[in-house]
Symmetry: C2
Subunit: 309 residues, 2 copies
Amino acid sequence: MTVKQVRAFLAVAQTLSFAQACEMMHVSQSALSLSIKALEESLGGPLFKRTTRNVRLTPEGEALLPLARRLIADWDNARDELRQRFRLQQGLVTIAAMPSFAGNLLPVILRDFRSRYPKISVRIQDVINERVIEMLQVRQVELGIAFEPSSASGLDFTPLYVDRFVAVVSSESPLAGLSRVPWERLLAEPFIALQRPSAVRNMLEQSLRDWKLSLPVEFESHQLTTVGRMVSSGLGVSAVPALCIGQMKELGAHCIPLCDPVIEQPIGILTKSDEELSVAAQALFESLLAFKGRFPESPDRDGGLGSAP
Amino acid sequence: MTVKQVRAFLAVAQTLSFAQACEMMHVSQSALSLSIKALEESLGGPLFKRTTRNVRLTPEGEALLPLARRLIADWDNARDELRQRFRLQQGLVTIAAMPSFAGNLLPVILRDFRSRYPKISVRIQDVINERVIEMLQVRQVELGIAFEPSSASGLDFTPLYVDRFVAVVSSESPLAGLSRVPWERLLAEPFIALQRPSAVRNMLEQSLRDWKLSLPVEFESHQLTTVGRMVSSGLGVSAVPALCIGQMKELGAHCIPLCDPVIEQPIGILTKSDEELSVAAQALFESLLAFKGRFPESPDRDGGLGSAP
DNA sequence: CACACTTACGATATTCGTAAGGATT
DNA sequence: AATCCTTACGAATATCGTAAGTGTG
């Protein structure tokens, strides 16, 4: 019992004529006749009653008809679905990105991706850095965007860019005019920090500790937006990844490169190292890489503050 | 995309090894490798990631796996169902029989049929003669058992036996001792008839009319059982098809052959003449024919009252 | 170097189409 | 006689298995 045979059966059952059916199947009458015969033999009895003048279904043929329809429909559907997957005309990519990326660059990249592969849906998980890694490890997502994890995490890291901390100050601040700010100077102001747990906050504190600096935290928030609003309202200053410059500007805050030390951290695409990527995920991977040159704070560029060099 | 290819895919996906899978499929490694390759090409991308040392599914392969399982399961189920039908190990026969037959002989025949084909279920419609014909014509049943219909009914008639009317009297009746009763004598008694509409009643009245006899109906009932009870209670006499002799005896009534005239009517199997019989129906048809010699009132035998000749 | 899958190639089976056969209208 | 399905047979195609090739642990 082969697919071809069942298709032949359907063709004959629909037209009730071998002559018509063989045109539909693009085979000769004899080939079709043999196919039906083989099917009937494999099933153990006749499916059609042939009277040389007209063809009719036997009761067993009637019983097979709905089954055959479903079988062929399911068969074709499965085949088409897989083909569409491979042709990137269908599919689902799951990606987890840390909030600063998910909220700033990812939407732009996805717009590009979507225009190229409109049939592929993307499920975005906007979660903190640590959850990105967890979700990858338990295969909840295929792709992750986060800081470079420890090498023992079982994940592959493909760097996209190096993120540096920039100072965020209100436009009325005395620091606003400077072209770069040393950390010591910034920390003299009331500091508005991202709340723990947060990879950004951790990195910040750890790096400053190496330089024997400490964070005089005045206010805390989980939301970057809130931090930005607080700064622009003159409540204090903050430091955020360069990625968030655009967001901060929209909130009316000024961003200035920080120095002494320049705190930087590679950010990139994470994948489970022993897992294969779906073609859809591979496509998104490549769309992400295609944006590499357009990221701020690229290792070989300046502060990336947007304006003149 | 063939069935064999999908089976090969499942075998490899389950074992994650071409070597093991090819044993399962009873083919050589190369044949299996080619099958998978052909499947992958027909779908447009790789289903397995081969690393010469181990085989794993690609995400597309993972997507295909559940689909393939269902596909093959459905495929095999459909095939098995059809095979069982042809082997008479499955199936359903629908038969409509007039009550006198359905209640007397049919159970015995079905017991025999059932012991031979235990997996085939039989749906019996115990309906009046006219409904038997209707149900056949609208294909509600495959087989019917009834009087011979008019030739224009579009039904084929295969005679089983000729039914004759016998007198039913109570054991206290003065008629009880006779070996045969003329109709005129019987009709002198209060008559208990089957209620209209009923083919038996119609036939009775029509035949008597030809002999210028009329039915002095005293009581009527739809149920043969009720008629029998009434007779054995001494309320009157009746006349029933010989088929019902057994039933009447159980109810305590006596049956005696009738003469002047002998009213007889062929009873047989009806089938729709332009319809094919399922193998299951064909089997039941033959089981019915096999009982032909054991019917009462066979044309070449006597009154069939069971006892001595 | 051994194992596991792939590729190459000759042999075998299967399938196909043309042509002849048979049955019905 | 015409139509429609089946059967027969040679040809084209596909599939299979053996054996050689390739890459990995």
